[in-house]
């Protein structure tokens, strides 16, 4: 399994997926930085950090999971390397499991960049305004925990997106699912049963502790249940040509 993960990491060299990992959080942090600089009144640090994290959870995380899963799958679909990979000795589940592991690594890397970018952007903006823009202490630890919990809750969406992206050769269905899921998430955010929408699980980390707990449990337990199903489904499929 470790070898398969290392192979997936080698395949990321010079790939669009790697560029996206840097570009998506950077763009969001730059946007938050620009909006912050545009303010006339001071803002508490936690509010600034939560605002950035909210945009991350609402839009960037599900869309990044969609785009990354499509790009990871297209690394194989594009040149049609499945025949070669699946004909190799060794279990097929490790190949698909490694893809999922690398997707999670990439999402974690994006979350880490979000954490750095949010704190650095806030500090720089505050510094440029002579320390009059952000009040209170920077929520270094709290933001890290929040982003980590968002990532854990988002594992289920990553799994669903990757499953579909690996299952179909075309990138259109997984992309459509990701866009639709994100939009449904925005609409259903305030709905009573919105907590059960997988694309909203990360957003619920900003909600009440009870709701956040349910969402976190759904994200992680749902992943544990569905991961074997995905590996079984993808491994038993035939490669007709």
């Amino acid at each position: 399994m470790i070898a398969a993960v290392l192979v997936e990491l080698i395949k990321l060299r010079r790939s669009l997926a790697l560029m996206l990992v840097v570009a998506a959080p950077s763009a969001l942090c730059l946007l938050a930085f620009a909006i912050l600089l545009d303010r006339d009144t001071p803002l508490p640090w936690p509010m600034y950090a939560d605002g950035t994290a909210a945009i991350w959870a609402y839009f960037m995380l599900p869309m990044a999971a969609t785009a990354l899963s499509v790009l990871l799958a297209q690394i194989e679909h594009g040149p049609r390397t499945w025949d070669h990979l699946l004909a190799l000795p060794g279990g097929r589940p490790r190949l698909f499991g490694a893809k999922y592991a690398v997707l999670l690594v990439l999402v974690a890397a994006m979350a880490a960049l979000m954490w750095i970018g949010t704190l650095a952007g806030g500090a720089v903006a505050d510094g440029l305004r002579g320390g009059a823009l952000l009040t209170g202490e920077a929520p270094v630890g709290a933001l890290a925990v929040r982003l980590a919990r968002m990532g854990c809750a988002g594992m289920l969406v990553c799994l669903l997106q990757l499953w579909l992206a690996l299952r179909v050769r075309s990138f259109v269905p997984p992309l459509a699912l990701g866009i639709a899921g994100t939009l449904v998430g925005v609409v259903a955010a305030s709905a009573k049963h919105g907590i059960y929408v997988p694309w909203l699980l990360s957003v619920n980390m900003l909600s009440t502790p009870e709701r956040a707990q349910v969402a976190l449990a759904m994200g992680t337990l749902g992943t544990l249940v569905l991961l074997p199903a995905m590996l079984w489904d993808l491994s038993r499929r035939e490669r007709v040509g």
């Binding site: 070898a3 398969a4 290392l6 192979v7 080698i10 395949k11 060299r13 010079r14 790939s15 690394i75 040149p79 049609r80 390397t81 499945w82 025949d83 070669h84 990979l85 699946l86 004909a87 190799l88 000795p89 060794g90 035939e238 490669r239 007709v240 040509g241």
Partner: protein, 297 residues
Amino acid sequence: MEMAIETRGLTRAFGGRLAVDRLDLSVPARAVYGFLGRNGAGKTTTIRLLLGLIRADAGEIRLFGQPLARARARIGALVEVPALYDHLTGRENLDCTRRLLGLDRTEIDRVLGIVDLHAAAGRRVGGYSLGMRQRLGLARALLGRPRLLLLDEPTNGLDPDGIADMRRLLARLPQEEDVTLLVSSHLLDEVERVATHVGLVDRGRLVMEGPLDALRATGGEAVEVDTAPAAAATLARAGFRVDGEDGRLLVRGPGPCAPDRIAALLVKAGHPLHRLARTERRLEQLFADATRVGEAA
């Protein structure tokens, strides 16, 4: 004799259409086995079955006497187009497979040496010619010293030089790497130059199989004649079997097919005689005969 591949009653249908129909293949170890047939005859489906990419509806596969699942580590394959990661270098492409197979790093240099791709190994594969891609695909298939190589149309799309390079490479492999080759192709002339054994498949069924020399010897000797087109009728009336057109005829008799007898017949009938030579049966002829019998049946 040790068999690299044995299939018995191998059958696979797609949507009610039999792609492979009760196929009984016997490929001896260390042979270069030409797996021949028209496009759509079932060659690629058979190779996919041998690689475990699709499941058989019926029948069994044994590789070196073992069931497919246990022998998979002994197979290398190049299926249709050389599927490579264009954004990676040649060496990185090989490294991906090497790691998945758990092989030593030196394996990469070994296989690059076999296909003579050392100089280009550091370049991105996206810039490779089709011939280089095929050689890299072959190098990848050779990782781990497989005992059996399944090559599906390895000369597809190559220019004449690329085809000649690939042919030389394939001819060397059985001795140098102690490997059995199954080469599927619809280019009969190409396979004829490297194959020791052939299997002819038509509409999913094996219509002929055996050592190439033995198959050529079946059906008696043949004589190639360059003459006038009308000579075909003359020879046919004399009891010969005549194939070919535009005055280039392949003549076989029900009995002895002596060139002097044919020459005398043509001269007596007043046909011009430009060339006359004994010939071995070509694969193309074997294939035509075998599929004609199949169609008649």
